[in-house]
Subunit: 398 residues, 2 copies
């Protein structure tokens, strides 16, 4: 999958700098040339940014044209002023694009509790409109970065009803919140023709299998937003439900893009040195499997051990136990980076541990736990926890 020249027919995008952040691009604009079907999933937090509040209303129509986003300021906990500024941000974009305000979705990521610098943003939105280009997604990906160290872009193609369909997306997210400005955003574009109700269903399912399976620090942010626009330019027979011909190919491509973005978020976690896949098997049911996987993925004891390259199965078992997840210890197994280090209720020995420790030096590692209590399975992506995580989150001052 190439990252240069990623384009989806009928979409243009841009990323420009208007000076909200100290350096780098900070305004992203994505637009469909024609009205598009739209779907979104948002944070479950009870504390949300103004853009989330507005998007939740606008997404109900199932239609939209554009996404305007900024980094450097999250517009969270700003009361009535926050809502006013967010609406204004959307109106400015609508004016530049010549569409209705209600067709514009919003996202802001960065510091909590500071007002959006509207004068700067206004200039930025005008400039973003001028910079729109079919291959502008890379710039847009850069413009939504906060503590991210790399832009995150993914794209794929598939065949739907005899037509080639493109799916491409960008994302940001490395820690979850200010002051070192994080939170998760993902914007995915496709030229597939999809009816809004099925688009919503496909996005929910893809998000469940991707963005909802990634964790850096266990926080769900105030601004988490995934938006999907489908403009129909591929002219495939419109996908109306999961049983429409080609729907499976489409949802597979969508999931592939979302998973690549989710893994990129975990790999670029604040201070991360490793992408970690946590795989739980043999749970009593799927819910317990996911609870165990999240618990392992968020355990600071497990994450610091991984940073240290320590094949520490004891910490993994204890945190599964602490989550009060059923485990049959006498038959349970733990494998680290493919090496079985715990089985039959006991350590697999010093040699296995040593072998696992060597393999844990890799930049991508997998932890696998078989709880031996049933057939439930789950998978979560995360990263390790290093000195740099503490530095980023302790030393920085807003």
């Amino acid at each position: 999958m190439s990252r240069s020249g990623v384009a989806v027919p009928g979409f243009r995008a841009s990323g420009v700098r208007c000076g909200i952040k100290e350096r780098g691009l900070d305004v992203a604009l994505l637009v469909s040339d024609v009205p598009a079907a739209a779907a979104g999933v948002f944070t479950r937090s009870t504390v949300v940014g103004a853009p989330v509040t507005i998007n939740r209303t606008r997404i109900r129509s199932g239609r939209g044209r554009a996404i305007i986003a900024n980094s450097g300021c999250s517009n969270v906990a700003m009361g009535a002023r926050g809502l006013r500024d967010a609406r204004e941000m959307g109106a400015l974009a609508a004016r530049v694009l010549g569409c209705a305000e209600e067709e514009v979705f919003l996202a802001s990521t960065g510091v909590i509790g500071e007002p959006l610098p509207m004068a700067k943003l206004k200039e930025g939105i005008v400039r973003a409109g001028e910079a729109l280009a079919p291959d502008g997604l890379g710039d847009a990906a850069a413009a939504i970065m906060t503590t991210d160290t790399v832009p995150k872009l993914a794209a794929t193609r598939t065949r739907v009803g005899g037509r080639t369909v493109s799916v491409a997306g960008i994302a940001k997210g490395s820690g979850m919140i200010e002051p070192h400005m994080a939170t998760m955003l993902a914007f995915v574009l496709t030229d597939a023709a999809v009816a809004p109700p099925y688009l919503r269903q496909a996005l929910r399912s893809a998000a469940d299998g991707s963005f909802n399976r990634v964790t850096v620090d266990g926080e769900a942010s105030t601004s988490d937003t995934a938006l999907l626009l489908a403009n129909g330019m591929a002219e495939n027979p419109r996908l109306r439900s999961a049983s429409s011909p080609g729907a499976q190919a489409f949802s597979g491509a969508l999931r592939e893009v979302c998973q690549e973005l989710a893994r990129a978020i975990a790999r670029d976690g604040e201070g991360a040195t490793k992408l970690v896949t946590v795989r739980i098997r043999g749970a009593r049911n799927g819910e317990e499997a996911m609870r165990a996987a999240r618990r392992v993925a968020n355990s600071v004891l497990v994450k610091t051990a991984l940073f240290g390259g320590d094949a520490n199965w004891g910490r993994i078992l204890q945190t599964v136990g602490a989550a009060e997840v059923r485990i049959n210890l006498a038959r349970a197994e733990v494998s680290l980076a493919g090496v079985r280090v715990f089985h039959k209720g006991a350590s697999a020995g010093a040699a296995a541990r040593q072998r696992a420790q060597e393999r844990l030096r890799s930049k991508e590692v997998e932890l696998e736990v078989d709880l031996a209590a049933g057939r439930g399975e789950a998978l979560v992506w995360t990263c390790d926890l290093s000195y740099d995580y503490v530095r980023i989150n302790a030393e920085y001052r807003t």
Copy 2:
């Protein structure tokens, strides 16, 4: 409250070294001269050490004489061998003390997955028996330390039914698990005369108000154990229920000792530089208040901000939101170290933040959040998260 010469009439204790740990005392013995009422509370983890399994059975009698504990090896995840070794450990102590095996409670804390070195331990138990002394609690406190940097001892006296009653306890716990050997243990002794059913009730209530409100890293260990022995030597009229005369004084004293131990555990958290009290008010109910308090206390974003001395109310609000706890943001308030930094839906301004930041340099700080959604309240003690937490848990190798 003096920590030297703490003694409870009719109890003796000791702490000796037998060489399980690389250095320091590692075997503790506590014994009542006469049979005592006994109560215990244990970890809710589904992965527990052999001592916990055995204690759970023995505590049912409501009677006991002694506690034998070691540090340096937790005897967790050792299968049948672990149970055999734990029983042997208790039998050795019973032989030294001349009591029945069933009257001896057990605790082991330290590395997971390694066998107890029984030859060393046997010698240690004999030596601990010889070293028993009325003022030996301080040595016992030292002998259960793992990553703890200081022994934890608390004592108080009160009047019950015209008699002076003593309550004294020791505890350990700084992180929750191997390899840098932690987990929470607390042993409390009293000469009060208390019927076992009420003793159990009083301990549960005291633990809920103390040990169950402390968190260092969000982990509940495989070995968490609090044991309470009451030998009746104070000859007060036996306390049979919460309405017995003097029961309130007794439970107050018990809670005081347990709270002092719990706060000492948080203050001595791995790498901690501050004792942090998290106080939630105005939650929809008590359950939501506790959920919010635990969430704030365990948030690595909040804890790293505290390490950095950053008055970061945004991180506190986002983690309450992420816990899906009801909050009325327009009326909510956040105070840090006594300074209100967020109110009426917005920042209280840069001056307040600056003032809070200065006060956050203190070794003891309080975070207070009023959710403005009801009357629920909760309190949790925790600590900050520093580079040393990462060092202790990443660099150490078993």
